[in-house]
Symmetry: C2
Subunit: 381 residues, 2 copies
C-alpha cells in the first residue's frame, strides 16, 4: 500500500535523498566527508538565516533541547517556560532535571502565549536568565509569537530567548539573526525532509556568552566542544555519516528552490487545508496563530479523533491524533517538507469519506473544492 | 575509485542494508515500525547474549557511555577507571564532568590492565561504585580482560562493571550474562555493520538497582524512561527510523550466520593479519591481548605511520593512523563487520607496496603468503 505521511514528523523523504544516503559509507574523518560537512555548515546558515555556526548532533531534537539548557544555565538559575502543549512541558521537565527553577506560563492548549505576559514576568523577576518557548507547538498547531518575544528579550542583557523550532525551521519564516532569537533548536525529520537522527542548535553571540558562565554538566551535547570541532569540518564525536550525506542533498534542493518559495508553498497548503476544514463545518483547534506547517482540527461532536486517524490509515494516509489532554479530541494534518498539492487534495478527499464513515455528514467534494479555490487563487497570485 | 573501509568504524555497510534503509520512511509510532522495534529488541538480546533489554538511542556510542555514568552514579561517588588509551580517557572525562571522583589506573598504551591491580584498588577503596573499562581499546588494539574483571566485581555487591564494547560487540565473544558484565555499551558503526547514529546499552539486574539510587541529572539518555518505552515497542523520543530499519536487516543476517561463525571469521582474519605483519618484519603495538577486531602495527623505524595511511588511501584502502601519543608511530587495520578474506589479502598486498614506497623493504607477497597460510589452515580446520 502506498503511504502518505501527512504527520508532523517524520515527514516523507524524497527518493533523491534516499539515494544520497544509500551511497557507500565515508569515513567521518576523511577529506571527502569533511568537504560535505563544510558545505552543510554553509547551507545550515542559510536555512537558519544566521551568520552563526549551526551545531549538528547525532540525536533527535530533544537532545539539542537538553543541550540548550545545560550549555547556558547553572543549577539554581531561574528560567521562564512557555508551556502551551506537549513540547512546552518538555522544557519544564528539562529545566527541573538540572535544578533550574521554573517560572511557568501555563498557556491554554490551542492558544499562543501573550507577549505582554512574558514581559510582565520578566519584569517581575529580574533573575530569569532564559525564556524557553516553542516556535511551533506541534501538539496544538499553534505558532507562538517568537518575533515579539525576541523584541522583549533583546533589550535584557541578562536573559536569552531559546526557541524550539524542531517543527518550524525550514517550514516558515523564522530568521534567527533578523529577529534576534538567541538559540534555535531544530531536528532533521520535519520540514528538513530527512529521517530522524540529526539535531541542530544555533546560538547568538549573546547566547555564547551564557555558555562561558554555564556550570551545568554536559558531555555529548557540549556546544563549545562541538563548535570547535565543526570549525575544523569535523564533529566532536562520530558523525551520523549517512544522514549528513542526505542533509547535503536536501540542502542543495532547498537552496535551489529558495526559502521564500518554500514558505509560500507551505502557507498556501496551510490556507487550503484550513479552508477545507471550515467548508466541512469543522473548527480549528488553534484559537490564535494557527500554524503554517500543520493544521490541528477539532473532531466534530460524537466523533473520536483517534478513529479519524485510524480510518485514514486504512487508505494509506497518515495524519496524527491528539496527544495527552487533546487525545481523541483533535486530529492533525501536517503540510510541510516533501508534500505537495496533490498529496493534500487526496488527503482532504480521504478525510471527507472517513468523516462520513464515522457518522459526520459531509458533502463529498466540499473540502476539496474549498482547497482547490485557495490553491488556484494563491498560485495565480 | 572503489573504497575499502578497513577502519575501526565506520565499517562498510552491505548493499542489502543500504536497500533496507532506502525504503519509504515509517512513522515511529506506527504498528509497522513498532513491529520492527519488537523484532530488533529480540535480536539485540541475541547479539548482547543477554536476557536483559538492550536500550537503543539515536546517538553515537559516546552518548550511551554518558548514559552509563549518569544513570548509575551520584555526584561525589568514586569510580575506578581503566585508562589505557584514547577511549579510557573518555571515561575519566565523563566522570569528572559529573562530579564523580576518579581513581584512575593508568595503563601503558599497548598494554592490557592487570586484573590483580583492579582487585587491589577495589580492596583499598571500598567506596568505589563502578569500574569503567573498554572491552576493546580501539586506539591501541588491545582487549582488556573484562571476563576476569567481572569475576572480581561480581563478588562485590557495591560495585558494577561498565564495559565500553563499542568496537567489540558483535566482533568477538563477549557474553554479557555469561560473564556477568553489568553494563555493556555499543555503537552501530563497527561490527554491527551499520552507519553511525545508533547507540546501545544493556544493564544487568545489579546495574538496574544502581539506577534506582542514582541522582545525577539525565533526560535524553534516561535509561529507566527508555526501558519503559521499549517495553511498549517504542522509544522515549523519536526513533532513528531508517537506521533501525537497517538494524533489523543486519540482525537478521547476523542471526542467520550465527555469532560463533562471525567470531571465528574475525579471529581468522585477525590471525592472518598478525601473521602477515610479522612476516613483513613488523611488530604489533599491542603487547598484551591483541584484539580480534583490529590490528595495531608499529610503523618501522624511519617510516611515519601517517604516511602509510595516506599512501594506502591513494589506492582506495582506508586504514587508521595512531591517535594522540601513538600518532605517527602506528597504523591500524580493522577486520570486523562486512569485511572478508579478499578485502584483507588486497589490503595486505597494498600495504607491502606502500611500505616499499616509503623506504621499508618488504619482499612483495611475503605478507599475503603468510595470511593465506593462516586462512587456508583455519578454514580447513
Amino acid at each position: 500500500m502506498k503511504r502518505y505521511l501527512m504527520t508532523p514528523g517524520p515527514t516523507p523523504v524524497a527518493p533523491e535523498t534516499q539515494l544520497a544516503m544509500a551511497q557507500p559509507i565515508l569515513h567521518h574523518r576523511s577529506p571527502q566527508f569533511m568537504e560535505i560537512l563544510g558545505k552543510v555548515r554553509e547551507d545550515l546558515r542559510y536555512l537558519f538565516q544566521t551568520e552563526q555556526e549551526v551545531l549538528m548532533f547525532a540525536a533527535t531534537g530533544t537532545g539539542a533541547m537538553e543541550g540548550a539548557v545545560v550549555n547556558t544555565l547553572c543549577a539554581g538559575d531561574t528560567a521562564l517556560v512557555v508551556d502551551g502543549g506537549k513540547f512546552g512541558e518538555r522544557w519544564t521537565e528539562l529545566c527541573q532535571v538540572y535544578g533550574v527553577k521554573v517560572d511557568r506560563i501555563a498557556v491554554e492548549w490551542g492558544r499562543a502565549v501573550n507577549p505582554a505576559e512574558v514581559a510582565a514576568r520578566l519584569k517581575a523577576n529580574p533573575a530569569i536568565k532564559a525564556v524557553f518557548v516553542q516556535a511551533n507547538e506541534t501538539s496544538t498547531g499553534v505558532q507562538h509569537p517568537v518575533r515579539e518575544l525576541a523584541q522583549i528579550t533583546k533589550s535584557l542583557p541578562g536573559a536569552i530567548l531559546v526557541v524550539d523550532a524542531i517543527s518550524a525551521l525550514g517550514g516558515y519564516e523564522l530568521p534567527m539573526d533578523g529577529w534576534g532569537l538567541d538559540i534555535v533548536v531544530a531536528g532533521s525529520q520535519k520540514a528538513m525532509m530527512l529521517p530522524p537522527g540529526l539535531a541542530f542548535a544555533a546560538l547568538s553571540p549573546k547566547a555564547w556568552e551564557f555558555v562561558k558562565t554555564s556550570t551545568l554538566p554536559k558531555y555529548y551535547f557540549d556546544f563549545a566542544k562541538q563548535l570547535k570541532s565543526q570549525q575544523k569540518n569535523q564533529t566532536a564525536y562520530t558523525s551520523a555519516v549517512t544522514l549528513t550525506m542526505g542533509l547535503m542533498e536536501v540542502c542543495a534542493r532547498i537552496r535551489a528552490e529558495g526559502l521564500e518559495k518554500i514558505f509560500a508553498r507551505n502557507r498556501r497548503l496551510s490556507l487550503a487545508t484550513k479552508e477545507a476544514v471550515r467548508a466541512m463545518g469543522l473548527e480549528l483547534y488553534a484559537k490564535d496563530y494557527p500554524s503554517d506547517v500543520l493544521t490541528a482540527v477539532l473532531a466534530p461532536a460524537g466523533v473520536d479523533g483517534q478513529k479519524v486517524v485510524a480510518n485514514l490509515r486504512r487508505k494509506g494516509i497518515w495524519i496524527a491524533g491528539g496527544q495527552a489532554q487533546a487525545k481523541g479530541k483533535i486530529f492533525r494534518i501536517a503540510h510541510m517538507g516533501f508534500i505537495d498539492e496533490t498529496d493534500l487534495l487526496g488527503t482532504i478527499g480521504g478525510l471527507e469519506v472517513v468523516l462520513n464513515e464515522l457518522g459526520y455528514k459531509v458533502d463529498l467534494g466540499v473540502g476539496v473544492k474549498a482547497a482547490q479555490a485557495v490553491l488556484g487563487k494563491e498560485a495565480g497570485a
